[in-house]
């Protein structure tokens, strides 16, 4: 099992990083969205190698499925697929890359200092199946779980309010005050 895990991790990690780089460099927003979906799917495979099948399914259905469909719909609805114009502030963009690189290096160095003590047997002990995660979710986090439904209702109402188009100053005048 050891080499199989290593190969799966290497391939998935390479795909995830490559797709992320493509996502932030493509000038066309549709291409960015598709590359992000590829990245999310690769991260889903990584969750499987971490013995988290429930989170992996969540990642594929919600992130690579629902959220990416939402992104693609809005990109195509708004017709913003046209590429961004030439950046008048190239220096600022370069500064952004440098700052991001410095932050990533710092984060990587900090993570490299983390001492990991668990051996393979200990790592293999926790299996995040639906049953096991559900037990923790409904025992220790049931209040937060119920509150997530309130959050989702609030978001739904907010989106509907934002989506209603007001036409007080419309040319026809027949749809005013809606």
């Amino acid at each position: 099992m050891q080499p199989a895990y290593g190969v799966t991790f290497g391939v998935s990690a390479a795909i995830a990083v490559l797709a992320a780089i493509m996502m932030i460099t493509r000038r066309n927003a549709v291409h960015s969205a598709v590359w992000l979906a590829v990245c999310f799917s690769a991260i889903g495979v990584l969750y499987l190698t971490l013995q988290a099948p429930f989170i992996a399914v969540l990642q594929i259905t919600i992130y690579a499925g629902a959220i990416m469909v939402l992104f693609l719909f809005v990109v195509m609805l708004l017709n913003v697929a046209a590429p961004e114009g030439r950046d008048p502030l190239r220096v600022i963009a370069g500064l952004g890359i440098v700052l991001g690189g410095v932050f990533t290096t710092g984060l990587g160095l900090a993570f490299a200092c983390v001492t990991t003590s668990a051996d393979d047997a200990a790592l293999a002990r926790t299996e995040g199946t639906v049953e096991e995660v559900g037990k923790v979710l409904f025992a220790d986090y049931v209040f937060a779980f119920e509150f997530v439904s309130v959050l989702l209702v609030a978001a739904m109402v907010g989106v509907i309010v934002l989506g209603v188009r007001r036409r007080e100053r419309g040319p026809s005048g027949s749809e005013g005050g809606r």
């Binding site: 290593g6 991790f9 990690a13 995830a16 990083v17 992320a20 996502m23 932030i24 960015s32 969205a33 992000l36 990245c39 991260i43 990584l46 190698t49 971490l50 013995q51 988290a52 989170i55 969540l58 992130y63 629902a66 959220i67 939402l70 992104f71 809005v74 708004l78 913003v80 961004e84 950046d87 963009a93 500064l95 952004g96 991001g100 690189g101 932050f103 990533t104 990587g108 490299a112 983390v114 990991t116 668990a118 393979d120 200990a122 790592l123 926790t126 995040g128 096991e132 995660v133 923790v136 979710l137 986090y141 937060a144 959050l151 989702l152 978001a155 907010g158 989106v159 989506g163 188009r165």
Partner: protein, 100 residues
Amino acid sequence: MVPTQWYLLLSAVLFGLGIIGVLVRRQAIVILMSIELMLNGANLLFVTMAREIGNLSGQVVVFFVVAVAAAEVAVGLSIIVRLFDNKGTVDVDEINLMKW
């Protein structure tokens, strides 16, 4: 088993790429996508450490992060749609309604 360190470095790289995307890109939709990438880097960290310390609470946190991210994307995208209605662009350099 793949060492925990590798996953930590990968999550740092994904988070950093998300930061670079937010700082460099100017289309509001792509900025939102970069934020999603940062959330995924953090999620990977949670799941990795859940395995490391042998506690499933980390995976439950990821469940909540996914729920919040779904709500955030829905509200964020509808704000962008309204913005496009009003300004005819989603370029964040052009959007300066609240700038003195």
